[in-house]
Structure formats: structure tokens, C-alpha cells
């Protein structure tokens, strides 16, 4: 029959590894790209991923020699002090990592899904869920990961595939990249994102198929690395190098760019993002589990008694760890502070230390091969600590549907976006939900006032409620005066004109024409790419009032020539 042997299969370990990494890496790595241009960062990315694979290879190599307990293994080779130090470094790594993950989760969720939610509440939710997952032990975690694996990965890969259709090939044209100290530094940062792989050595004795361990971890890390690389290529293709640098969360913005066939659901970013955030819960449960596991190892052998007490000790260590992380979360204050601390402490200090230890152990083990080893079995676990306490959160619910209005068009005239939106809201007795805007009509004057246009576009870029596939038009005062705020279906009319009124061939031509700076439909994304990537020219359609209604007259051309000259 089946006993509670507290072991997982190699397959489950693979799933755990992938889900632990995928959320953090897909959101974190593009953030690292913020300081360098796309091509340079591609080089850094490739270098960092190769380094990560090598590191994981060494972890896999070492894992097959770990018999009962990695702590005991280290003690046998490097001594008591080094074993404790390594455990402490890993504990610190996990602590800081989890604090950062909480901030990452809270920031992304607040930005894209729940703008009115308190970040502490989000972090508490993540920690609670993570604790619950960790409390099921390694078997429960393994099973959870095994079931979630396909549920998360397949939709994300589908998203990547359909996101690839929005690639503009000119952004992926071959070019040169500068390999400088910055490139190397960025590459190292990429590597540190995978720095937690060394923790697998503590889980190695819990894997029932140790002979497959190395292959499993390589496969898992390779899958994550490959996915991230592919995602990066798609992101550069969709947004361009500079566009990518300007986005705080390009992976999520890519999700909003995706158009799946069928047209039933308008935007898929909320759904895909929710799926991605599921991996954060898995990652949180992993980190909390590690915290408990590592912390209990600090208690002496005499205090570790029955298996039951060891389990309780770990539970209490996990709860205490989660509570401390929550306190650290609140203490760090903002996402930027947490990111800064994560970069300095984890990336520049703890990961190099732990990786160094791992490599040293690999060398020692290589030297010791063939010699008769004195195996020492390290005693495991326990002691009890204090109780855990989780905060109670409260926040308001969302707005009711009937308290909202859904304009399909936005007119931008007479000032910056704050003024425009404020004016718009003042005309309405209900909350204006801009999530369904199909078309934005700018006053022609914005074409001449480039700084104001940039400011407005940046505002729209930062606010995820404005979809990048909104159509953009210019219009003169006559046309704008005749379009009233209450014409809420006018935006749908404009969008449908292009969708239904234009033949397929014309649409294709229009896309080509737009690429060459000639006439055609222009979206917000196109305008932003033009701005960030300093393209030569873009022609934005112009709306004019006629006797019968409206028509699209000659476009207004915007160029980057003056700015380029200035540069």
C-alpha cells in the first residue's frame, strides 16, 4: 500500500521548479532590461541563461551524492560552521526573496486587476495561501504543482503564440549589440533570478527518483529559460526596444495585446494574469516551506525527537517566517525599496555566496569520488516556537455594474490627461469605466504640441485600463464639437468601420502602408512604438465633419525628424 513517505517523484519536482520560477522570472527579467536597450539585453539574457543552466547542472550533479540530508552532507565536507552558514545564507535568501515576491505580486495585482485594493491585504492573502500550501508538506506541494502545471503553462504558451502575431518584424531586424560591463552585469542579474536553484539540494533526499534528478532540474530550468527567452523576443517584436524599456511590466502588457480568435472576450490580460499569479501562490508555498525547513535545522539534535514533533516544529517555523515576511513587507514600504533590497542583498550578496558554496562542494565531491566516504546522517528537525498571527484585511468591494458608464470613445482636448478625465467624469453621474474605449480622438493641436502629446500618451501607457489596441484619430474643432460625450457608441462605430467596412486586402495594405508611414488605421500601441522607438513617420487618420456625418480625410503625419536631429 501507500505510505506517507514524504517523498515526491522527479516529475513533481520538475513541476514545482517550473512553477516556482515562471512567475517571478517572467516579470522580473524584463525589469532588469529597463536599464539597457533590447539587443544588449538579449545578449545579457542569453549569457545569464547559459550561466543559470550551468549552475543548475552543478546542482544536479551534487544532488545525486546527497543521501539523507543536505545539511549533514555539507557538515561532513565543510564542517559544522560552514553548514550553519550555508543554511543561514539560504534562509536569508528565501526571506528576502519572499518579501520581494510579495511586493511583486501586490504591485502587479494592484496595477492591473485591483487598483483599489490595499497592497498589504494582497501580500497577506499571498502569504496565507502560501502557508496553507506549505503546510501540506512536500507531497501536497508536489501534487498541487503537478495539477497546476498544465493549467498555467498551456494558456501562457498560447498567449505567447498569439502575442507573436503582433510582432513587427522591423523590431527584430538583425543588428549589433554592445558588450560592455553593463551587459555582463545584466547577465549576472539574470543568473541571480535563478539563484534559488541551490535550494533543491535540500529537497534532493525527498525525491524518490534520484537518478533522474539532474535531468529533471535541467529540463525544468531549460523550459523556464526557453519560455522567458521566447517571451522576450515576442516583447521586443511587439513593442520595440525602446518601447520595452518604457514599460514597467511588459509581460502583462503583452497579454493585453493578445487577440484570440472568436471575439467573444474582449481582453484576455485579466485571465492570463490571474493564471500567472497562481504560480506566485506556488512560489510562496515553496519559500515558506523552505523557511520552515531551514529554520528547524538550527535546533540541536537533542531537541529533535519524534517525527510528529518535528512536523509541528516546522509548521511553527513556517508560520513565524510568514509573519516576519509580512512585517518586512510593511517595513520596506514600496515596491521600489523591496526591489532595491532584493537586488543588493540577494542578487549581489546571497546568491554569489550560495552559488560559491555549491561550486565548492562540487569540486570537493569530484575530488572525493572513488574514496570511501564516511557517511554521517544528519539528524532532522524540530522544536516549537511561537504562534502565528495573520493580519485581518478589509477592503471595499468593486463598484456595481449599474453605477458605471462605459464610453466607447474618448476625446482628448484642452489639456493634459488628468484635466481631460476630470472634465469627462464631471459630466457623468456614474463612474466612467474606460476599459471599453475603442477609439481616442485627439484635438489636432496635439499634433503640433509634441511634449503635450507625449505626456498624454505616457499617461495612457501607464494606466492599464487603456488598451493598446484603441484606434487613434485626430480631429479639428468642428468635428470635435459635434461629437458629444453622450455619443457613447461613436467609438464602436469608428472601430466597426475598420473591422467591417474595410475589405481584407485593404486591411493588409493598410497595415503595410502604416509601416511605411503612409495612411491606415493607427492604434495607441502603434503611436507609442513610434514615440519610443523613434520611428521616422506615422500617419494618423483625421476625422472631419461632413454634411452626411463623418469621414476620414487626409492623415496627419507625425515625424521624429526634429527630435532625431536634436539628438
Amino acid at each position: 500500500m501507500f505510505s506517507d513517505n514524504h517523498k515526491i517523484s522527479a516529475r513533481q519536482l520538475n513541476r514545482l521548479l517550473v512553477l516556482d520560477l515562471i512567475g517571478k522570472v517572467s516579470l522580473l527579467l524584463p525589469a532588469f532590461a529597463g536599464v539597457s536597450s533590447g539587443r544588449d539585453f538579449m545578449v545579457s539574457l542569453i549569457g545569464g541563461l547559459i550561466l543559470s543552466m550551468l549552475y543548475v547542472f552543478s546542482v544536479g550533479y551534487l544532488a545525486k551524492y546527497v543521501e539523507n540530508d543536505f545539511g549533514g552532507f555539507v557538515e561532513a565536507r565543510l564542517g559544522h560552521v560552514c553548514a550553519y552558514l550555508l543554511r543561514f545564507f539560504y534562509l536569508a535568501y528565501v526571506f528576502i526573496n519572499l518579501t520581494y515576491l510579495c511586493w511583486l505580486f501586490a504591485a502587479v495585482t494592484k496595477n492591473f486587476l485591483l487598483p483599489e485594493m490595499n497592497v498589504a491585504a494582497l501580500a497577506a492573502v499571498m502569504l496565507l495561501c502560501g502557508y496553507y500550501g506549505a503546510s501540506k508538506g512536500i507531497e501536497g506541494r508536489g501534487r498541487t504543482a503537478e495539477v497546476l502545471y498544465k493549467l498555467i503553462l498551456i494558456p501562457l504558451l498560447v498567449m505567447l503564440l498569439f502575442g507573436a502575431f503582433s510582432i513587427d518584424s522591423k523590431y527584430l531586424a538583425p543588428g549589433t549589440a554592445d558588450i560592455s560591463s553593463m551587459t555582463l552585469k545584466q547577465g549576472f542579474l539574470v543568473f541571480t533570478a535563478f539563484g534559488g536553484a541551490g535550494l533543491l539540494l535540500y529537497e534532493a533526499p525527498m525525491c524518490s527518483q534520484k537518478e533522474r534528478l539532474k535531468r529533471t532540474v535541467l529540463h525544468g530550468t531549460g523550459l523556464v529559460a526557453g519560455s522567458v527567452f521566447a517571451a522576450f523576443v515576442v516583447m521586443i517584436g511587439a513593442f520595440g526596444e525602446e518601447g520595452l524599456r518604457a514599460l514597467p511590466w511588459p509581460a502583462v502588457t503583452l497579454m493585453s495585446n493578445v487577440n484570440l480568435p472568436g471575439d467573444f472576450l474582449q481582453r484576455w490580460d485579466a485571465i492570463f494574469l490571474s493564471l500567472l499569479l497562481l504560480s506566485f501562490f506556488v512560489a510562496a508555498s515553496t519559500q515558506i516551506y523552505y523557511m520552515g525547513f531551514l529554520a528547524q535545522g538550527f535546533f540541536s539534535a537533542e531537541e529533535k525527537e519524534a517525527k510528529k514533533r518535528r512536523g509541528r516544529c516546522q509548521s511553527i517555523c513556517m508560520a513565524a517566517g510568514a509573519l516576519l515576511v509580512f512585517m518586512a513587507f510593511n517595513f520596506s514600504g514600496t515596491y521600489d525599496t523591496a526591489f532595491y533590497l532584493f537586488r543588493i542583498l540577494n542578487c549581489y550578496i546571497l546568491v554569489p555566496l550560495t552559488a560559491g558554496f555549491t561550486l565548492l562542494l562540487c569540486v570537493i565531491e569530484r575530488v572525493r569520488q572513488g574514496r570511501k566516504l564516511k557517511k554521517r546522517t544528519a539528524a532532522a528537525a524540530l522544536l516549537l516556537c511561537m504562534g502565528a498571527f495573520c493580519s485581518v484585511f478589509a477592503s471595499g468591494c468593486g463598484r456595481e455594474l449599474e453605477d458605471r458608464t462605459f464610453p466607447s470613445m474618448l476625446i482628448v482636448r484642452g489639456g493634459n490627461m488628468d484635466e481631460v478625465l476630470k472634465g469627462w467624469q464631471q459630466e457623468e453621474d456614474k463612474y466612467t469605466d474606460f476599459g471599453h474605449v475603442k477609439a481616442v480622438v485627439f484635438d489636432e493641436k496635439y499634433a503640433e504640441d509634441r511634449p503635450l502629446l507625449k505626456e498624454v500618451l505616457r499617461y495612457m501607457e501607464q494606466d492599464p485600463v487603456f488598451a493598446r489596441n484603441m484606434l487613434v484619430f485626430f480631429a479639428d474643432d468642428t468635428a470635435l464639437d459635434s461629437i458629444t460625450y453622450k455619443s457613447s457608441s461613436f467609438g464602436s462605430y469608428l472601430a466597426d468601420r475598420y473591422k467591417n467596412g474595410t475589405a481584407k486586402e485593404e486591411k493588409a495594405k493598410s497595415k503595410q502602408a502604416r509601416k511605411k508611414g503612409k495612411e491606415g488605421e493607427v492604434t495607441l500601441g502603434d503611436l507609442l512604438n513610434f514615440l519610443h522607438n523613434k520611428e521616422d513617420e506615422i500617419s494618423v487618420p483625421r476625422l472631419v465633419r461632413t454634411e452626411d456625418g463623418y469621414s476620414l480625410a487626409e492623415s496627419i503625419s507625425l515625424t521624429n525628424g526634429d527630435e532625431k536631429e536634436a539628438e
Binding site: 503546510s135 501540506k136 506541494r141 501534487r143 503537478e146 456595481e400 455594474l401 476599459g435
Partner: protein, 504 residues
């Protein structure tokens, strides 16, 4: 035999040779039990021998006494000489197949209370149990709660003997073991543990029997009590046993290496272990084409998802992530909600709770009234509520779809778990939107990952499929053709998993 006799002498509860003593003891014990009859008689030619027959009036009918084995035995003994009576009883030379010697008064009482007639003879140190028809019970009827398009229509009755016989009818093999046990200090309810020797893990059978022995209860009226006292995780709303009223389902489970538990007075058999996947399977899944079965299973899983998630999803997309739905739909929903006085969450909760009331009323009300309530509640009250602008029409549709989803789940117990979880999802989505839905399912998944049913992970084969070399995956959401399912599932002993072989 001699050892038994010697032991019997020392046992103070041993049956006395003196009928008077036995009569006194029985009289005292059965004082006030007017349904327990003590009939004295004198058998044999000449002076004869005093005898006493003890039985429960309704369990052993007078007709039976006349015409059955008991009656025939009495008639035969009546014609015998006294010295022959003892010999005939000792040697059971009358060939009464259901007769059994009882050595102690406790055994005699237990046998009598089980619905048998017990025969005491003056000068004889044993009592005789003559099996009778037993208590009044429903016979084998049609399956009411587990209807199937194909397959047997029989259902279990409330007699454990009949139920084990129904399984034996389908598995005519001596390896089918039936282990009987009395549970309940006052109820003395007969229970039976049925399994296939060589196929079921002995440790699983032992573990279940240990759990049965681990408590002492005064009595229980249904197998549901045993379920709750022997399950692994008491606080989980998910059933850790499967129940069935169908003999074919129980027989299939036995052939898979699972254990089936019956108890008297309960028409439901308990099957263990249970997995999440097994609760979505029905007996006629194996009697029909694999294509249609796979399609229906997918429908069931989707139904389960809807049963838990649909109300919460509605709250999430209307209160938080409105950008998901097309503009026309969202405007239409907003217009439909105009004038509704309640917030969306309250509206959903109100209607869900109203539906729960209707469901309860429909179950408790007899016959046609129950059906009428369904129609009245569903159509008239729902329509009236929409017309009065108390609720919006879309919420009625949402609640109806949720209910349909819940009814589509084959296992009633699993469906009840979903009913409870649905409210949790509503609350989470009302606070966290679509993230709440993801969080809710994450918590459910974590809970299910930690759940086990007698050592088998609850999420088999979705997790740990390689434990049985991925054979269990052939009979999960998609059911492969029967010729491809040659191995028993993971419940069966590893050395005896082949169930289908082709002849060369």
C-alpha cells in the same frame, strides 16, 4: 469440541442445561419487550422434553413457524423419543441448513435480536439458532438516486444479507470475501466488509477494520455514520468514500481492488478508497461507447467548475474586470441591473439561498407537492422577482446554470461539497475579483492535494499518474476504449493488476 465444552463450563454466561434457568434469564432480560415472544412447548413422545423458542414477533412470522424449517423441525421432534431428540439436535440429523449451535446466552440474545428464532431445550447445553427471514425490509427495488441509461436496474436493499448476495450474484468466485461484524452496543447492527482476495490490498482491508474497531458506539442507523467515524480527514467537505445504491457499481469496485462496506438498515454501500476522479464516474460509463462517455465526462467536469465558479465569476467580471466581456454585453448587463436595489453580491447570495430553500422544500415535501414546488419556485417566483426588479434576469440565469451544473455531478456528496464551496468563491470574488477565483481554486487544489483516502492520493490520476505507469490516466476525464484499459487501477495489488488479456 471438548475444549469448547470445557471453556463453556467456566463461562458464567454459558447456556444452562436447566431450561428454567434459561427461561428466567430470558424473562428478566426481555421484560417489557412485548414484541419478543417466549413460547414454551413440550416435544417428544411420552413425558417429552421441555423446550423454549424465543423470537421477535415481526421477524419470525407465525406462518413461518408452521411451514418453515422450524415448524418442520418441531413436528419431527414431536414424534421422536426424548433420548433421540438430543442426538438429533447434536448431530443436526434433520439437515437444517441454517441451524447453528449457540454456546452462550450473549450469542443467543444476539441471534434473537438479529431476527432469528432461538431454540432452547431442557437438558441440552446449547441453544439452536434457526435463521429466519429476518426483520421486515424493502426488497430489491429499482435504483432511484443513481439512474443509468444502461445496465442493471437493481438497487441495494436495507438488508446486509440481501446486499452481499447481490454482489455475490455478480462475482461468483470464492475469492470474494465477506467479513461480517456486529457494530453498535445497543443496535448490534450487522455489517459486512466485502473485498476480493488477491486483488485488494490486505493492509487496506485491515486498516478499515481497525478503524471500525477503534470506536464503540451505542448504535447507528445508516452507513453515513460509519463514513464519518472512519474517514481520514474529518473537516474536509469532500467525500473520502464513494457511496452507491447499485450492485453493479459495487461489484465493479470490488473487481478493481476496492473494499465495499454494507450495513443493515442502509441501502447505500460505501466504497473505499475514493478519488476525485472516481466520483465523476458512473456505472454505465463502461457500458457505452468511449466517445460519448468521454464527452459526458468532460461535461461533468465543466459542470463541476460552473457549479463552484459561475456566481463568483459573474461578480468578478461585473464588479472588477469589466473589460473582459464584450462592450455590448456589459452595457446590456448594466441596463438589466438598473433599478435593482441590492448590490450584485447580495443579489447572487439572495437568489442562491432562495434556491437552496426551494431545493430543501422539494426534497422534504412528498410526491407531487415537491414537484409543484419546483415549478412554482423556479418559474413563478423567479419570474416575479425579475418583474418586481428585485433581481436582474441574468442572475436568475446564473443561478439556474449553477444548479444544473451541481445536478450534473454524479456523486451527491461531491455535489454537496461544491454547494458549500460556491459561497466561499462568491465571497472571495466579491473582494478580489478574478484573482479571488484563482485564489479560491488554489486553496481547493491545495486542500485536495493533501487529502488521502486510505493511502491513495485524492487527486489520482491527475497527480501521481506514474504510480501505476499512467494506466489510471486512461480512465480519467477521457475514457479510452475498453480494449486499451487492460490494467486495474492503482487500488489493486501491484502483482495482480492485469484484468484483461487477449487470447493468442
Amino acid at each position: 469440541m471438548n475444549e469448547k465444552a470445557e471453556n463453556k463450563k467456566e463461562d458464567p454466561k454459558a447456556i444452562s442445561r436447566s431450561l428454567r434457568d434459561s427461561e428466567q434469564i430470558l424473562g428478566k432480560l426481555c421484560e417489557g419487550c412485548d414484541d419478543i415472544l417466549l413460547r414454551k412447548m413440550r416435544l417428544g413422545q411420552g413425558e417429552g422434553i421441555d423446550c423454549l423458542i424465543v423470537y421477535i414477533e415481526t421477524a419470525v412470522s407465525n406462518m413461518m413457524l408452521q411451514d418453515s424449517m422450524i415448524g418442520k423441525m418441531i413436528n419431527s421432534l414431536q414424534a421422536s423419543r426424548p433420548e433421540e431428540i438430543y442426538r438429533e439436535l447434536k448431530e443436526n440429523s434433520l439437515g437444517i441448513s441454517d441451524a447453528k449451535d449457540l454456546m452462550t446466552m450473549d450469542e443467543a440474545l444476539a441471534a434473537m435480536l438479529a431476527g432469528n428464532a432461538v431454540f432452547f431445550i431442557d437438558g441440552f447445553d446449547r441453544a439452536l439458532k434457526i435463521s429466519s427471514k429476518g426483520y421486515p425490509a424493502m426488497g430489491v427495488s429499482k435504483a432511484e438516486t443513481e439512474k443509468a441509461m444502461r445496465g442493471s436496474r437493481e438497487a441495494f436493499s436495507e438488508s446486509v444479507k440481501v446486499n452481499t448476495a447481490l454482489v455475490r450474484k455478480r462475482i461468483r468466485d470464492t475469492r470474494l470475501k465477506v467479513k461480517e461484524k456486529m457494530v453498535g452496543e445497543a443496535s448490534h447492527t450487522m455489517t459486512a466488509v466485502v473485498y476480493m482476495e488477491g486483488v485488494a490490498y490486505p493492509s487496506m482491508v485491515e486498516k478499515f477494520q481497525e478503524r471500525l474497531d477503534s470506536f464503540v458506539i451505542d448504535g447507528f442507523m445508516d452507513s453515513g455514520v460509519i463514513e464519518q467515524l472512519t474517514e481520514d480527514t474529518w473537516y474536509s467537505p469532500f467525500p473520502q468514500f464513494q457511496t452507491t445504491e447499485r450492485p453493479d457499481r459495487a461489484a465493479m469496485a470490488v473487481l478493481e481492488g476496492r473494499v465495499v462496506f454494507f450495513s443493515d438498515n442502509s441501502p447505500e454501500a460505501i466504497i473505499l478508497p475514493a478519488t476525485y476522479n472516481s466520483l465523476f464516474q458512473t456505472s454505465d460509463d463502461y457500458f457505452r461507447h468511449f466517445g460519448i462517455v468521454s464527452f459526458l465526462r468532460i461535461i461533468r467536469y465543466i459542470a463541476a467548475f460552473l457549479a463552484v465558479s459561475l456566481p463568483g465569476l459573474y461578480i468578478a467580471v461585473t464588479n472588477f474586470q469589466t473589460q473582459i466581456l464584450p462592450t455590448n454585453l456589459i452595457i446590456s448587463l448594466a441596463k438589466a441591473r438598473e433599478g435593482v436595489p441590492f448590490p450584485g453580491v447580495l443579489e447572487i447570495l439572495l437568489l442562491e439561498l432562495s434556491f437552496e430553500l426551494l431545493r430543501e422544500a422539494g426534497v422534504r415535501m412528498p410526491g407531487t407537492i415537491g414537484n409543484t414546488i419546483g415549478i412554482v419556485g423556479g418559474l413563478i417566483i423567479g419570474q416575479a422577482a425579475v418583474s418586481a426588479n428585485i433581481v436582474s434576469p441574468i442572475v436568475v440565469v446564473i443561478v439556474a446554470l449553477t444548479a444544473l451544473g451541481s445536478f450534473s455531478v454524479p456523486s451527491e456528496e461531491l455535489s454537496e461539497a461544491f454547494r458549500l464551496l460556491k459561497y466561499g468563491m462568491i465571497l472571495l470574488c466579491s473582494v478580489f475579483g478574478i484573482l479571488g477565483l484563482a485564489l479560491g481554486w488554489m486553496l481547493v487544489l491545495i486542500h485536495l492535494s493533501g487529502l488521502k483516502s486510505f493511502g491513495i492520493p485524492y487527486l489520482m490520476p491527475f497527480s501521481g499518474n506514474d504510480m501505476n505507469r499512467r494506466q489510471d490516466g486512461k480512465d480519467s476525464i477521457i475514457r479510452m476504449p475498453l480494449w486499451m484499459i487492460r490494467k486495474r487501477p492503482v487500488f489493486a495489488r501491484r502483482d495482480n493488476r492485469t484484468k484483461l488479456r487477449w487470447k493468442e
